[in-house]
Amino acid sequence: MPDIRKARRKQFVFAGLLLAQLILISLQVPLGEEPSYFEKGIFFVFSPIQKGLQALLQRIGSTWTRYIYLRNVERQNQEMRDELFLLRQENIQLRNGLEKSRQKEDIGRILTDLRRSFLFASVIGADASDMYKSITIDKGSRDGLSSGMAVVDSRGRLVGRTVNPVSPGAATVQLLTDDNSGVSVYSGDHRVVGVLTGDGKSGKCWLKYVPATNVDLAEGDELITSGFDKVYPSGLKAGRVISITSDSTLFKKIAVRPYLDFGHLDFVAVLTQRLDTLF
C-alpha cells in the first residue's frame, strides 16, 4: 500500500513539473520576443558563470599561443605592420577629404564620437538549442548596452542586433541567420531593396520582397544595409546573393550567403549609436 502511495506521489510531482513548464510556455507566448522575468533571472544568474568560464578558457588558450606556440607570430606581425601602414595612409586621405567640407573642431568631435560608438565584446556562448539563432556576449547594460543595437564582426560586417535578455554583464545577440530576424538591405550594384531574413536551419539567408519582374539583381551581388528599418545603420555589408529563382509567386526566391562566419566569431563590436547620425 505505501508503495502505491509513493508511486502516485511521484506521478503527481512529475505532472506538476510538466504543468509548471506548460504555464511558463503559455505565459511566454503572448510576450513574443520579450523574455519573462523568470527567464531574465536565470540568464542573470548563469551568464556570469559562463563569462568566468570563457575567461578561464581564453586564458588557458592564450598561454599556449602567447608563450609556446609562436610559429606564425613573426609573419602575423609583418602582416599587421603592413596593414597598419595602409590604414594610416587611408586615414590621412580621408581626413584631408573631410577637412574640405568640415571645420577642424567638427572633425575632432566626429572622430571622438566614432571611437565611442564601438564597444568591443567577446562571444561567450551560442544558442543552446539552435546555433543559427543567437549568441551571448560578455558586455551588458553596465557597459551601456540595450536591446536593438547593431552588432558587427572584426571586419565591420553585419552579425545581428542585441535583444533581450540583457543583464548587467552579458547580452544576447540575435543573428541575422535567425528566421525571425529582418534587415532592410539593398544590392550595392543595382540598388534593389529587400528584406534579409535567416532561414534558421543552415546558416543561409533569404532576400525577400524583390518583385518577380525585377531583372537588375544578379548572382554575386553584394547586399548592404539600407537603414530603412531604423534598427541597423546604413552601409554595413551583410552578404552576397548566391542564387535567384522564380516561381509562380509575386516575388523572387533569392538565397544569400551572409558574411557572418561561425568559425571565427570570437569577438564582435556593438554599435552603441547610429554611425549615420555622426556625419
Binding site: Q21, I25, D130, P165
Partner: protein, 156 residues
C-alpha cells in the same frame, strides 16, 4: 545536490564545447545527456527535476519560447528513471539503444513543440542535429559504463 552539480557540469561542458567548435556543441546535447544519466542513476524523480532545471537553462540561453526545452527534458528525465527500473538497460548495447531512443524522444518533443507554436518547419541545422541522438547515446553509454566500473571497483 548531485543533480545540481550535474546541471552545473552540463553548463560547463556546453560552454567548453562551444569554445572548441560550434558544430560539436550542436552535435552533442550535453544537457539531455546529463538528464538521462541522472535519471538512470538516481531514479525518475531526480531525472524529472534535473530535466526541469536543465530545460530552464537551455531556454534562458536560446531565443524562442521559454519552457519548450523544459517540457522535453522533464519528460526525458522521468522516463529515463521510470523505464530503467522496469527494464534492464545495464548491458552496454542495450544502454546505447536506450539512451539513443530517449535522446531522440527529447529532440522530437522539442521539434514538435517548436513547430506547433511557431507553425513552421523544424530547424535541422545542416542536418547536424540529426546526429544528436546517436552521439549523445554513444557518449552517454560510455560514461555510464565508466561510472559502473568505478562503482564496482569501489565496492571491491
Amino acid at each position: 545536490m548531485e543533480a545540481a552539480a550535474a546541471a552545473l557540469a552540463a553548463f560547463f561542458f556546453y560552454t567548453v564545447f562551444h569554445k572548441i567548435s560550434s558544430s560539436l556543441a550542436e552535435g552533442l546535447n550535453v544537457f539531455t545527456l546529463a538528464v538521462i544519466l541522472i535519471g538512470l542513476l538516481k531514479g525518475e524523480m531526480a531525472g524529472a527535476f534535473m530535466g526541469f532545471a536543465c530545460g530552464l537553462i537551455v531556454d534562458a540561453f536560446s531565443l524562442g519560447v521559454f519552457g519548450i526545452a523544459g517540457v522535453a527534458n522533464t519528460l526525458t528525465g522521468y522516463l529515463a528513471g521510470y523505464i530503467s527500473r522496469k527494464v534492464n538497460v545495464l548491458p552496454f548495447l542495450r544502454n546505447l539503444v536506450f539512451i539513443g531512443v530517449l535522446a531522440g524522444l527529447e529532440l522530437s518533443v522539442w521539434m514538435g513543440l517548436t513547430a506547433l507554436i511557431f507553425g513552421e518547419a523544424v530547424p535541422f541545422g545542416k542536418g547536424l542535429i540529426l546526429l544528436q541522438p546517436f552521439l549523445t547515446a554513444l557518449v552517454g553509454s560510455l560514461l555510464f559504463l565508466g561510472i559502473r566500473k568505478i562503482r564496482a571497483a569501489h565496492e571491491k
